[in-house]
């Protein structure tokens, strides 16, 4: 008789399981970089893992352009999709919820429950829409700082973010140097390139030229600039993938129709890639707010880590006290490895502790969301030192 194979583990034993988003209301005005203030605001958030007794195991997750608070787990048993960073957050995953307490919030200006352009402006009783104050990355940092105080945390074990999230993590290191021990910056940059800004401007133009945009007051007209937002997402999506990645995923495969000679033209020809992009665009346009998209892309464009430091990133980083881990992906042309190396060089020149890995991946910018084996190895290896600092033996 042969030995019975070990019984299979439940498929999601490394998942944080079912999570319930929470909302926190702040009734004090939040002073913003633009000079205006938000009279009051809500933050919707999720937490995973347990905060330890001395509150030293907190990790803050900063989300990217279209991200939100739902980073890991599911909202219900039959939820088809997990949180956007479920690949990295969970028991035994790089951001190990057996060890760390993870806070993931939806930034202000967002459209997933935190105060943003779709919220009601208390002064007018109408949705904020285009009148929502313009935001800078530092405004998010300040609102995240209020969350930190709410939880009674005086220092994060780490602040971790990819893309625009990495920019927030770096801003934290300069604005609140004592508030974090590690800053993990993935597929990010100290400022956008002209090419990046150009792509964002096309996306914004697509939205603002939609007939249903109504100068941003579409909610008051009971409509949505869906077509414009879908187009914006389609352009964005192309830039998050690499040429090789698209070639592998779609090639020139046809979804419908036939390109052979004499095949007639009963069915319109549609390439797989066209169908995919259209689906992505449409799905996004019914789940995301156009004003939020405009606001977030502008915050992204305006970000310049060293602007207030004589345009010298070395001078800027001299303020930081934490250790840094920087990660980039070879085929990411939106936040190219060269941008990450600039961060690393400035940190070395500023005499800061920094590690850097350039992960070979053909997923373009989206790679930071995907559990690529080497990426996970590097992430695990770095997180090991955070666990050791907390006194966990391995």
């Amino acid at each position: 008789m042969t030995q019975a194979p070990p019984s299979p583990q439940p498929a999601d034993n490394d998942s944080v399981g079912i999570v319930v988003p929470q909302t926190l209301h702040f009734d004090q005005p939040l002073q913003l970089a633009c000079g205006r203030a938000l009279p009051e605001h809500d933050i919707v958030y999720e937490t995973y893992g347990e905060l330890n007794a001395d509150k030293s195991n907190g990790i803050l997750i900063c989300h990217a352009l279209s991200g939100h608070h739902h980073a890991a787990g599911k909202h219900s048993e039959d939820d088809r999709k997990t949180g956007w960073w479920d690949s990295c957050i969970g028991p035994g995953k790089p951001i190990d919820t057996n060890v760390f307490f993870v806070l993931s919030i939806n930034n202000i200006g967002g459209c997933h429950g935190s105060t943003g352009p779709t919220s009601i402006n208390p002064e007018t009783g109408k949705p904020w829409g285009p009148d929502f104050p313009p935001l800078r990355c530092r405004d998010w940092v300040e609102s995240q700082y209020l969350m930190m105080q709410h939880f009674g945390i005086s220092q994060w074990a780490a602040i971790i973010g990819g893309s625009l999230g990495g920019m927030q993590a770096m801003r934290w290191a300069l604005e609140h140097p004592d508030a974090l021990r590690h800053c993990i910056v993935i597929a990010s940059a100290m400022k956008l390139s002209a090419q990046n800004i150009a792509f964002n401007e096309i996306a914004r133009r697509a939205i603002t030229s939609d007939a249903n945009f109504y100068e941003g007051r579409y909610l008051e007209h009971n409509t949505l600039p869906k077509q414009g937002l879908a187009l914006a997402r389609m352009v964005g999506h192309i830039t998050y993938l690499s040429e090789d990645g698209m070639k592998q995923k779609f090639g020139r495969e046809l979804k419908t129709g036939n390109l052979s000679l004499g095949a007639g033209s009963d069915t319109a020809v549609e390439f797989e890639v066209e169908s995919y992009l259209r689906y992505q665009g449409e799905a996004f346009s019914s789940s995301f707010d156009a004003n939020t998209y405009l606001l977030m892309t502008k915050a992204l464009d305006y970000y310049d880590l060293a602007r207030e430091y004589n345009d010298d990133p070395v001078e800027a980083f001299k303020l930081a006290k934490c250790s840094f881990m920087v990660v980039s992906f070879t085929t990411d042309w939106r936040f190219a490895p060269a941008r990450s190396r600039e961060i690393v060089d400035a940190l070395v020149a500023a005499d800061k502790a920094v590690s850097y890995a350039e992960i070979e991946a053909d997923h373009g910018h989206d790679a930071f969301l995907i559990p690529i084996p080497r990426y996970m190895d590097v992430f695990h290896a770095y997180m090991k030192r955070l666990k050791q600092e907390l006194g966990h033996a391995f």
Partner: protein, 196 residues
């Protein structure tokens, strides 16, 4: 610990800032951090080594030494170390220039191709030496620029590089004294402490 790594430790000051080129799994930096409280960072290109160094708590930057050190500022480190990597570089002499620009002092260790076994292997068999220490065939080897103790010292003289200390490691510790009298013949690994 590899013997060349033990040998160079006295030349590295406590609390100094060390850059380790080709740091491997980070053992040297980990030891120096523990014993001399240095702050250091390693450059490495091999993914497995990078993960090992990270897991040890050593700061490591993925970097190809063949693209140079142009991204590092002048005199930004007290000591720049490169152990057993010189012979793998496309332009070893330019990397040495760069090391001396980035660091105030440097330590270089390399396999000495002038060792009598290499000479004997080549002279007797007429073939490129293959040994336990250097196990590669000529056509598939990371080692593309072998040199001897004499070659290295000639390069230092040509470039006006000061040799602050030097030593060789013999095949066997008991031959150490003799090997340091005839370094180019009996030294398996050469160890140099240099500055501008």
């Amino acid at each position: 610990m590899r013997f060349d790594l033990t040998l160079i430790q006295p030349w590295i000051n406590a609390n100094s800032r060390v850059l380790d080129l080709g740091c491997g799994d980070g053992m040297l930096l980990e030891t120096l951090k523990k014993e001399k409280n240095i702050s250091g960072v390693g450059l490495e290109i091999d993914p497995k080594n990078i993960t090992l160094a990270l897991a040890r708590g050593v700061n490591v930057i993925e970097h190809d030494l063949n693209v140079g050190l142009g991204n590092f500022r002048d005199d930004s480190f007290d000591m720049v170390v490169m152990t057993l990597a010189l012979q793998t570089l496309r332009y070893p002499h330019l990397v040495i220039d760069e090391m001396l620009r980035v660091g105030r002092e440097c330590i270089v260790t390399f396999p000495n191709f002038g060792h009598w076994r290499s000479r004997w292997y080549l002279g007797h068999r007429g073939k490129m030496p293959v040994s336990k220490f250097l196990p590669y065939t000529w056509y598939d080897t990371p080692n593309i620029h072998f040199c001897t103790v004499k070659d290295f010292e000639a390069l230092c003289e040509e470039k006006n590089i000061r040799i602050l200390n030097s030593s060789v490691i013999a095949a066997d510790n008991s031959q150490s004294e003799l090997a340091n009298r005839f370094p180019n013949l009996l030294g398996v690994t050469a160890v140099y402490h240099i500055s501008k």
